[in-house]
Symmetry: C2
């Protein structure tokens, strides 16, 4: 490799463990449970999954794959293509893997991201046989320094029978000190999570590992795959503006200070547009207590709007990846990554009173949210941390464009085809048409507000459904079950959710 | 009243505040927000709501009513009958009130019971104008001693502009010492909830109140209304047996100790059958960390099975009400009531690793649960605390008979008509046919297990739906949306969910 290994492996007990990725991959047996580092394309092992996938092209075996969240082309995609994944837990976002899941070729458990560590503790799927963890270094004290995500790596390392470390020699050395690794004890034996501000450091800078358990160390020079850069367009800008208006009205009403409250934002174009919009806003000294930190967070720190940002992983575009080593030095007192069990923990989210905003696929007239399934059947990515935050936040916001598929789909429908977040957990919905503040409203009044932020061309048929349901059936939550999915079935039959009457009008 | 008032009102600053219920009721103005004590028929004020209802028969006004949970005939029913309730939050269980809610005459927000205190803090519906709290006594130090429930009383007293105390002179004096009153600060300013065992006492024995804020004290001699006694029948006994078998198998597998884990059980016939069944079980030294404590808990303490029980309210049958004064003395070191924000708090439930079991109205083949709505439209009671526990529990169990309405309804359906608990939060479903352990299973494997615990006469049509959905649509969660509610529409059209083919077979 041409590099001085002792710079990366600083504890002698680990030095003789270096093996090829192929050798490490050869240890994996059919039916094993693997726990891999990686979250939103950052911090995943690269050489190992490629070697395992290559082996899979020759041999017949399947593994169950746990991760933090979505892995990239070298991991989720190559393993899906090689046909070596039996079961995937708790989140994915890769097109190839998604396709195989939806064909029934890969089983998938779509799980709250804060729950996975508990399931590993309980051995719901048996023991983790191998943890495979990307690292920037192994310290003198035998700590694994993670790279661009923490995810579930600490619990994988603690519970796995064997550990494989993939040292990425291209990882910025400034990753060391970025992480705050805190692992809870078993339920019933643990204490509180002592976080009272997003910036409270409660753990250690790396993952303690028993050298005995480390079966091999792989060396890698493969960088993380940057995430797409989500530039705002007119529509996402409108959504962002409405959301910023909502925040401003809360501040004006005295319900929130100018520092708002610790902020969680989902990943994607709307989230990025909101972060962009904040750069020229009145808000200041904001704490971010989130899952994923995107490009915008760095900009907001520069602008003095964000004073601290905690999460469990980066999701950065190429531009930010290129300057990462420099940025990590610059922002090292303002950024922190914790295990996803902590970044997404109900205890902390509720204590801090986080404001949460995430993207919805569809929303029904009573405020139930589908975050995962297209037409109730095909999974997109997964619920991720949206439920961890939505249930426990001070204000729970979901954002979506009112239309999808060039207007063939209204994202506001009578009855969502899959429910990830129930009406009990949803406070505010934002589309490019405006925002619906549902707080303190019973279902029938929620519907009035939600129909108003549907796209104008769909409002008449939403109104017609709602009025007919109130008139003919009534009840706390008026529905006509035989028509509840009429938008969806119309889409299937006619290629659009727009009913014939409206089309011909 | 013939009783020595100073025995109940032991602080002089309060002694001159005694007024008639009629006078107190006269203070209430149209549009006010009232926060009343009371939870599952226990600990509600009685004289005040009756007086307010009487006033409502003469005058035109409406109030918004917050409580802990369901109130009884003197409160929810009399106020609903008088037509003085505009909005009801967060739970009800009275037939008259339910009827008016479903007719759209009363607005109702069906809320997670741990969330209501946060909504009061945030003033989502504005300030609480009056808190009306039933008390056993006011102490020398000016603490209100609650009666048979704590519910949301502490936050109502803290945040209300005015407080009315209804002293119930028939309440056992042994209520004093039963309660553990701990109120959290605002989000962002609070610390952890320092409960590490169900029995940890963290608060005070009463609710501190500023005498200045107490506008009046009413005297009452009306006892609580006992709850129906839920005697096990053959079916509830079968469900209970399956659940006990599940617990036994977890113990046998080493996943749980003989003390299980802190136990939460819903209210009703199955819960009571389970508690009865436990009395002759192998389990011992169980801690109960629940919302409502029913008759069975006393029996299990007697049998040495339960060593401590914490909740927020009693729900007791007449037999136990009659011996309550004596029982409170006898069990005072083994029972504790906390505010529902604490008894149901995600932080504590998850830390302790509570086992939760609650009743479902219907369950779909993928494990989504409807706890609240009949045919997706008419509300029954409300979600109550089931979501607080289900989301955060170590094992989340829902129980239901596989049939309802003399077999016209299958409680296992293709798609639930309303979702309160999503597949992400549901581990085990129990019917009289057996239990389905869904842990670690993807949706299509969950369906296989769930169809097996449906009633045999509905299994063929559930199987037919599932196979057709897999075949024709596929995906992570196969559904045929146009037939997803076919069971429900068949019921509406033909009076039974059983399809014609099966009937004629």
């Amino acid at each position: 490799m041409g590099k001085d290994l002792s710079q990366f492996i600083r504890n002698e007990a680990f030095l003789d463990k270096v093996v090829s990725a192929e050798e490490a991959a050869s240890w994996i047996e059919d039916g094993m449970n693997l726990g891999m580092s990686g979250f939103t394309l950052f911090g995943e092992p690269k050489e190992f999954p490629i070697a395992l996938s290559k082996r899979g092209e020759q041999e017949d075996f399947k593994i169950n794959l746990y991760t933090g969240a979505s892995l990239g082309p070298t991991a989720d995609q190559s393993m899906a293509e090689a046909g070596i994944v039996n079961l995937r837990v708790p989140y994915q976002g890769n097109a190839v893997m998604r396709g195989k899941i939806n064909k029934g070729e890969i089983y998938y458990i779509d799980q709250h991201l804060s729950h996975t560590a508990e399931e590993v503790r309980k051995e719901t799927l048996g023991k983790i046989n191998y943890a495979i963890i990307e690292a920037a270094a192994i310290t003198e004290d035998g700590y694994i320094i993670p790279t661009g995500s923490v995810g579930n790596s600490p619990i994988f390392v603690e519970k796995a029978e064997n550990v494989i470390i993939e040292i990425n020699t291209t990882a910025p050395s400034a990753y060391e000190g970025l992480h705050d690794i805190y692992v809870q004890k078993e339920q019933g034996e643990r204490r509180e999570i002592p976080i009272y501000n997003a910036s409270d450091r409660i753990g250690e800078i790396g993952i303690k590992v028993d050298a005995e358990k480390v079966k091999g160390i792989i060396l890698s020079e493969q960088p993380d795959v940057p995430s797409p850069l989500f530039e705002p367009n007119e529509e996402t800008q409108q959504i962002a503006n409405h959301l910023l208006d909502f925040f401003a009205s809360e501040v004006a009403a005295g319900s929130l200070p100018q520092s708002l409250a610790p902020l969680q934002s989902g990943v994607g174009s709307v989230a990025n547009a909101v972060l962009n919009g904040m750069a020229s806003s009145q808000f200041k000294d904001i704490e971010v207590f989130s899952e994923v930190l995107q490009d915008g967070v760095f900009d907001l720190i520069d602008a003095g709007i964000v004073k601290f940002a905690a999460g469990t992983a980066f999701s950065l575009s190429k531009k930010r990846v290129d300057s990462l080593a420099e940025d990590l030095e610059k922002y090292k007192d303002k950024i922190m990554f914790r295990p996803q069990e902590i970044s997404n923990n109900p205890e902390v989210i509720r204590r801090l009173g986080v404001i949460s905003f995430n993207t919805a696929i569809e929303v029904d007239i009573y405020g139930n949210v589908n975050s995962t399934h297209i037409n109730g059947t095909k999974i997109m990515n997964g619920i991720g941390g949206s439920g961890d935050f939505a249930r426990n936040a001070r204000i729970t916001i979901f954002v979506t464009s009112s239309l999808a598929k060039d207007g063939a789909i209204s994202t506001i429908v009578p009855f969502v085809s899959h429910i990830d977040h129930t009406e009990h957990d949803v406070d505010v919905i934002v589309t490019e048409q405006g925002y619906a503040d549902l707080r303190g409203l019973p279902p029938v009044k929620r519907a009035e507000k939600l129909i108003e932020i549907a796209h104008p061309k769909y409002r008449p048929q939403l109104r017609a459904y709602f009025e007919e349901a109130k008139e003919k059936v009534g009840g706390q939550t008026p529905h006509i079950l035989e028509k509840a999915f009429s938008f969806h079935t119309n889409l299937k039959e006619k290629g659009t959710m727009l009913m014939e009457e409206e089309v011909t009008n």
